[in-house]
Assembly symmetry: none
Homo-oligomer: 213 residues x 4
Amino acid sequence: MTKSKPAAKKSRQPDVTRRNILDAALYEFAAKGLAGARVDEIAARSGSNKRMIYEYFGNKEGLWLTVLENAYARMREEEHAIDVARMKPEEGMRYLMEFNFKFCSRNPEFIALLNAENLHKASYLKDSKKIRELYTPLLVVITDLLQRGQKSGVFRKNVDPVDLYTTIAALGFFYFSNVHTLSTIFGRNLLSQKEQKARMEHSSDVILGYLRP
Amino acid sequence: MTKSKPAAKKSRQPDVTRRNILDAALYEFAAKGLAGARVDEIAARSGSNKRMIYEYFGNKEGLWLTVLENAYARMREEEHAIDVARMKPEEGMRYLMEFNFKFCSRNPEFIALLNAENLHKASYLKDSKKIRELYTPLLVVITDLLQRGQKSGVFRKNVDPVDLYTTIAALGFFYFSNVHTLSTIFGRNLLSQKEQKARMEHSSDVILGYLRP
Amino acid sequence: MTKSKPAAKKSRQPDVTRRNILDAALYEFAAKGLAGARVDEIAARSGSNKRMIYEYFGNKEGLWLTVLENAYARMREEEHAIDVARMKPEEGMRYLMEFNFKFCSRNPEFIALLNAENLHKASYLKDSKKIRELYTPLLVVITDLLQRGQKSGVFRKNVDPVDLYTTIAALGFFYFSNVHTLSTIFGRNLLSQKEQKARMEHSSDVILGYLRP
Amino acid sequence: MTKSKPAAKKSRQPDVTRRNILDAALYEFAAKGLAGARVDEIAARSGSNKRMIYEYFGNKEGLWLTVLENAYARMREEEHAIDVARMKPEEGMRYLMEFNFKFCSRNPEFIALLNAENLHKASYLKDSKKIRELYTPLLVVITDLLQRGQKSGVFRKNVDPVDLYTTIAALGFFYFSNVHTLSTIFGRNLLSQKEQKARMEHSSDVILGYLRP
DNA sequence: GATGAATGAGTGTTCATTCAT
DNA sequence: TATGAATGAACACTCATTCAT
């Protein structure tokens, strides 16, 4: 029974504590992956302590899943901020492509998180109940754009929405996902504003080129 | 009394030992990343022992870099097995796209390795001297295809070879890189033969659609 | 608008809370010992909360001591429920033996508690002021039985009351204290009704056999 | 990869290391039980380090079981050092009683260990394959003594060997098992030489008194 | 060159205890 | 009186790395 006689002090705001932990965890997980991340580091960065992490998230893996779900949810939320359903087909498609590209540019942690989760063969995500429903509305939007575009003759026929979305995601995500190895290999700083701008235009060209009838 | 032979230890074949370690390391690193991989596990799987790993590769990080370089080199080697320079422009471009796609399909460890390395912001690859020169011949080939295609009127003008290669890589790599999260989200088994075939055709369509004048 | 009643917290019955904590603690301590018991678990089981434990008992060790004293007290109380002083010597002795045996059978937590306390070399019990006086009346009763039995010729002479009580306790307590290891070693379920009955008779035989002149 | 660059030094004698750990563990477990014992403490006391404990015993519980089995085995070994089969029945029975008593006196860790294991309801011992066979020869010896004693008329009939052994064990074990609480309650130092001697004689009297025809 | 034993700094997780409300 | 959030010191267990043989 030689235990501590500690003294406490802090906030007493569960929601704030919880959010601080999630923010710190996002940073740490994105920088080092699940295995490389340190619970100690997350606790220190959050301004809270390890006990709270286990109180709120059960364990490191529970924290990982929550961070992952949050990242996905935030992306979809931002994406839906603008009402694509009212845009013209080509305009809407370009918006989706550009939003995707810019979101990846602004949120490198999102990229890192997804890659790490793919390393685990999505084993954590598979247990998530929230994820699949997040994507349903997006597919509805894409389907709608495709149909309207086909009707008005600006888009080709027989395009699968999932295929198309995957290509949109690929063109944005891959660039940022592999930006460090690509920059090294080609000896160019692909993160520069100029390169990014050119790449985004190229990507939109690719998508719209593909959709031409 | 017959003089006892000194019990022969093990192989005494440095090259074999070295190769076994690299094979085991590729497997382990691809499955768990750098931080998640275990030196003990690599030693056990290699049939050798930990001391040899440190003898040949200095430390875990040295082993990581070697594995990474090997993976890159193997890809380029396979790619050059066929002489693209003699193909017709469209045929050559389709070959590059399909090779890339199939290589990613056959070599999931390559995907995992690159993603992990990007998590580290390519910090190990940056120290590599071998990497950049691996890609020079590839860019030469692409430039040649583009020029010939433009001359004969089958390709549009003003296409940057690096941009194009990045897009080719994106279309193949991203699909396999994110196959687990995408499969989960869309509720489809994207690793099935059927899905892969469809995806490869779609990808070729995208590339060639983009290159149309 | 009816003025809202301040949401009544919980019971506000100090004695009930205290008793609930003691019950929960007895269960937990008996199952896991002092070191193995968890304050969280006791709090949860008691339906109260940790703060109350510290309010009433100071700390885990204070709670331990209180639980221990209560257990001893309850045993002596039950033992005195019947007036042994009015029984015939042999009858009284058999009653003490059987009571002891049955009490141990009914109260495995008592056994566990005492063993755990002996592991600590009785360091908590030594600080107790209540314990010694609990046993004085018992020794008076035994001394009385012995004297009457010796006078009437049914008991031998020169029997030390403490020795005798220790033997009575040993025969009952040891059986239940070691019932799990003994059952394992001898491959018999010593907790079965049949085994217990046989053992109790055997024990009485031993005591009365010893007391024969 | 901010890992240590340690320097090693020690013995390289697996058996010695193993034995040192077991000795240290016996001490620590006997003093504090399974839950109260500290792996750190065991490692420090053993002169080795924690890693070796996990190397040789898997985990804390594996170490506990090994210590427990060793303790049982040592008792049985010592007991068999003298050939009871050649003794006269009364002499042999007294020897068993006294050996048991003295062994408990000399080996308080054995007592502590068994009590702790009974707290766990013998859950570790139940998994042991070695234990039951240890006791078979002892029961053979007791059975033989009883038969010879009955034949020569010095012992009563219908005595179950397991019952008898349990009583022998009870008389010795309980005294030392509960010596601290008993000493406290009765205000006597039951560990003194004088008390022990008296108790052992009393115990032999009880056993032989019981066996009288 | 090859091996298994050894090391010490971590690493995720748990605990008794205290404070703000 | 009662409660749930917070704390820091431990705790069991693991890891990359090194040394004796």
